[in-house]
């Protein structure tokens, strides 16, 4: 049962053995993941956790079909069983197959990728992390705040990929992040929450310091307290201005997911769904207004979707998905590019861990920045709402019909922010919503998600999303108590 680390030559041997057994393609991938987290609830330490997970996967194409096996044991018998399992799965796949797997060509890769760190988050003493969180907790205290939670986490992933085509790449990715939430409760009022679990970035402890959690906790407390006593919004079509934080999620759900190329092949049709953006629509479908451009980019420093190579061994790239409102591109893997007979526009084959088969995932998918200062964008609103942070969200299986609600919304009158309103939600169709965007500001910032859910078995993927404040006209809203 003991785990041991497999060497680079051992991985090469494994791939060689698979090739000798008839695999037309094989790759071996090791992944070691570490995670440390501290959380504080209502002033007390709630949990202190350190996790480790490591293992090895073998993926083969045999008789034109995929087989994949993974194990957290790397003793000789486990390795032999791993190879047998991968071939048994491939043989079974080949027995129900109409089209053989065809990988789009990519040159063999060699090298290393490492996250640049100023301070390794794993080296920060636990006492320092706890003291920091207790200060954050103290800043969250308010007259009606019933529950306060805050956390700090560090993540490290070491990956090594060796393929039968000569690729041999190693990566060490370190991420740092924090979580904050407050719940305000008052007799006779609906409870109000303010939270954020997307404060995460590839980088070191310096990102946690950059977040200024103490100041942020005060803002969240104020938002929740104010929302508690706020009136309901007026239910009428209005101008909505979204924060970059809110838009990051909208971009993720309504642009990132429908441009995943495996949805075209119906690989996800029974679970995650398909898309409304089909190959014949490229260059023609109006996705949004001319102010709306979106880009997938795996090279952004600090992005949660940034890497040296994806899990197909494709080097990090960037590509346009929406250009001035017109749908133009997809997120692809070698397999999906091969099936669609297009070049790999961006390598997006990613697996959460060693135990997972790589599938098409987002990298950093962002709304491109505009050139207008936020203050000027706001001045153009006679009457509207600032949507500060998303709460609930729900999408249909084509990523076309969506519903979002908000934790916190503020009134904009004559270009100035006023008090809070509550109960705001909106449902829309994706092209209709993005078609209402009349301006994107220049204050672009990057956000990180830890747990984009897709695939069977479930894979939770890290992805990044950049956005700036943006303005949308005449959006119908719902208001509920």
């Amino acid at each position: 049962m003991r785990q041991v680390t497999i060497t680079s030559s051992g991985m090469a041997d494994l791939v060689h053995v698979a090739s000798l057994r008839g695999a037309t393609y094989a790759d071996a991938r090791t992944v070691e993941r570490e995670y440390e987290a501290v959380s504080v609830k209502d002033g007390a330490v709630e949990s202190v956790t350190r996790t480790a997970d490591r293992g090895l996967a073998l993926r083969v194409i045999h008789r034109g079909a995929w087989g994949f096996a993974a194990t957290d044991r790397t003793d000789d018998s486990a390795i032999r069983e791993l190879v047998d399992e991968a071939f048994r799965r491939a043989e079974a796949s080949a027995s129900v197959q109409r089209r053989k797997v065809n990988l789009a060509p990519v040159a063999a890769q060699r090298g290393e990728y490492r996250t640049r760190l100023e301070r390794d988050p794993f080296a920060v003493p636990q006492s320092e992390r706890i003291d920091h969180l207790r200060a954050v907790d103290a800043a969250s205290v308010g007259p009606n705040i019933k529950t306060r939670r805050s956390s700090i986490a560090a993540y490290r992933t070491r990956k090594h990929l060796v393929t039968s085509e000569g690729t041999d790449v190693s990566q060490e990715i370190v991420e740092s992040g924090a979580g904050l939430s407050v719940l305000a409760v008052k007799a006779g009022r609906k409870p109000a929450s303010r939270y954020d679990s997307r404060l995460v970035r590839q980088g070191g402890w310096e990102y946690v310091e950059h977040l200024d959690l103490v100041a942020r906790a005060g803002r969240y407390r104020d938002d929740a307290e104010a929302t508690l006593d706020a009136p309901l919004a007026d239910e009428r079509p209005t101008t909505l201005v979204f924060t970059p934080e809110f838009l990051a999620l909208l971009v993720h759900e309504s642009c990132g997911h429908p441009t995943e190329a495996d949805r075209l092949l119906e690989h996800e049709v029974a679970f995650a769904g398909t898309t409304f953006m089909w190959p014949d629509d490229r260059g023609k479908l109006r996705y949004g207004s001319p102010q709306v451009s979106m880009t997938a980019d795996a090279t952004i420093p600090g992005g949660m979707g940034t890497f040296g190579w994806d899990d197909d061994g494709v080097p990090a790239m960037r590509t346009k998905l929406v250009d001035k409102g017109i749908f133009v591109g997809y997120l692809t893997s070698r397999e999906t590019a091969g099936a669609l007979e297009v070049p790999v526009a961006i390598g997006s084959a990613r697996a959460e861990g060693w135990q997972h088969f790589p599938i098409v995932r987002m990298v950093n998918v962002s709304l491109d920045a505009g050139t207008t200062p936020y203050s000027e964008l706001l001045r153009g609103v006679e009457s509207g709402l600032l949507m500060e942070a998303p709460a609930s969200y729900s999408l249909d299986d084509k990523r076309q019909n969506f519903h979002f609600s908000t934790q916190s919304a503020r009134v904009i009158r004559n270009g100035e922010l006023e008090g809070y309103v509550r109960g705001v939600a909106f449902q829309s169709l994706t092209p209709d919503f993005w078609g209402r965007c009349d301006l994107v500001a220049d204050d672009w910032e990057l956000h990180g998600f830890l747990s984009c859910a897709k695939g069977e078995p479930l894979q939770l993927m890290r992805v990044g999303h950049g956005a700036a404040h943006a303005r949308f006209r005449e959006v119908p809203i719902e208001v509920r108590e």
């Binding site: 202190v48 956790t49 636990q126 706890i130 997972h356």
Partner: protein, 455 residues
């Protein structure tokens, strides 16, 4: 994965815990072999198997808790993990609400393990898929998933708890799509036994729905009578579970039950239990703390009776754990109701549909969420079989609709219930959630539709 069995799995845990340098400690081990084969366009496109072991150790020093996980079951590795956890605890602060690790209690024998299922091969899974694809009529294509999962769970602690249970799960789903029009149908089966899956029947049900799902029209928003099939009801129950059935959510005032225990929250036709020991479900008879999982009445004939608890939330609420501590890597502490049983009735599908004057039939939902957790409000779009019912008959296919409504309001209007079957909601079907339900189809007086997807 070779099953280790109780003795071989518990032995390294006991060995690791011996002379631990902490006030108390426990270890939970989850071993899993997950074999998943996915297909689309009547062709297998993913075929993966993974064998994994996860040991979560907790060490407690002066009421401060440290948690460490590892993939290894070697006693020296477990001892090292316990020492690390104790070190984390020493550097932490005491938790005044720490209830202590569980005391030993009698644990019922598990009934969720089926040996033949544990031995099911990749070829068997491919044969199920081949049978589905072969049974789909010309002009249609199939996609879906076949899954075999074998697990072993064990908990040991310094007070002498030593719990062990294996389990198996077999699952097959088929989404059938038309090649010539926009339409789809869906069916699935879930069991602890692989021989309880019927690929051809699954294909036939999905294909029949797909054949009906043509020439869709859009439905105007409004309140409608409705038939919710089992998967649709399971989705609503998941929302209730995540937002309101755990002790911590009641304690913090986030639950629909908060301040309302003993009061009527739904109609009399709604009774909901958490019942992991029901022989028809798939469950481990203890939780990750080693507490035997109890049968808990959550809502009885419309009256809220109380939530489920783990040790911490039970301690805070002055009661005993019901054995519902959840995997802390996936769920917030406080209790997770993951084995729901909603009381059913005798109505056939024809009777449910026949009782609707003008309304809708919902097969299942996609990507639901809760804009108002305290009211257990759910929003989500329907998929793979949404139909208009007029004068007791299905008359028209509908474009997918958005449904937005409180579960409490929905369950206040139950007119008829069908028999229970084992089902999971959309999220839980791929492992994002962990709720498994014995759930009936229902006919309700009112379901609120708030929008329609395009045709």
């Amino acid at each position: 994965m070779t099953l280790l069995g109780a003795d071989r799995l518990l032995a390294p845990l006991r060995e690791g815990l011996r002379d631990v340098a902490a006030d108390e400690a426990d270890i939970h081990v989850h071993r899993r072999r997950a074999a998943i084969t996915r297909y689309s366009h009547s062709s297998i496109h993913q075929n993966a198997v993974s064998d994994e072991t996860h040991a979560t150790v907790r060490a407690i020093v002066r009421k401060a808790v440290g948690v460490v996980t590892t993939n290894s079951l070697v006693p020296s590795d477990l001892r090292r993990a316990l020492a690390d956890a104790a070190s984390l605890a020493r550097a932490s602060r005491p938790d005044d609400e720490w209830p202590g690790v569980a005391d030993p209690e009698a644990i019922a024998e598990t009934s969720s393990f089926h040996e033949e299922t544990a031995a099911a091969s990749a070829q068997t899974q491919a044969e199920w898929i081949g049978a589905v694809c072969a049974a789909v009529p010309k002009g249609m294509r199939a996609a879906g998933t076949s899954q075999i999962e074998v697990t072993e769970d064990a908990v040991a602690n310094t007070r002498g708890v030593a719990a062990y249970a294996p389990a198996t799960m077999a699952y097959l789903r088929a989404l059938v799509l038309s090649d010539t029009y926009v339409g789809s149908g869906y069916a699935e089966e879930l069991s602890m036994c692989s021989d309880a899956l019927h690929p051809r029947a699954i294909a036939a049900t999905a294909a029949e729905k797909c054949a009906l799902d043509r020439d869709r029209i859009q439905l105007a928003p409004g309140d409608y009578e409705a038939v919710f099939e089992e998967l649709a009801v399971a989705e609503v129950l998941r929302i209730m579970s995540l937002t309101g059935l755990g002790g911590q959510s009641v304690r913090e005032g986030r639950s629909f039950m908060a301040g309302r225990i003993g009061e009527r929250v739904t109609g009399e036709n709604f009774t909901l239990l958490d019942h992991a020991m029901d022989a028809r479900t798939i469950a481990v008879p203890f939780d990750v703390e080693g507490t035997p999982t109890q049968r808990v009445t959550l809502v009885e004939q419309g009256v809220a009776r109380g939530p489920v608890y783990d040790r911490t939330s039970a301690n805070a609420m002055g009661t005993r754990s019901t054995g519902h501590a959840a995997d802390p890597s996936r769920y917030a502490a406080g209790g997770h109701a993951g084995h729901l049983s909603m009381t059913g009735g005798p109505a056939t599908r024809e009777q449910l549909i026949g009782a609707v004057r003008r309304g809708i039939l919902i097969t299942r939902f996609h990507y639901t969420n809760t804009p108002d957790p305290r009211a257990a409000t759910m929003t989500g779009t329907t998929r793979d079989g949404t139909f208009l019912i007029e004068d007791g008959k299905i008359t028209q296919a509908l474009a997918n609709v958005r449904y937005t409504m409180s579960a409490l309001d929905l369950f206040s209007g139950i007119d008829l219930l069908g028999p229970q079957r084992l089902a999971r909601d959309w999220w839980s079907s791929n492992g994002m959630g962990s709720v498994i339900c014995l759930v009936p189809s229902i006919k309700v007086r009112r379901a609120t539709i708030t929008g329609s997807s395009p045709l």
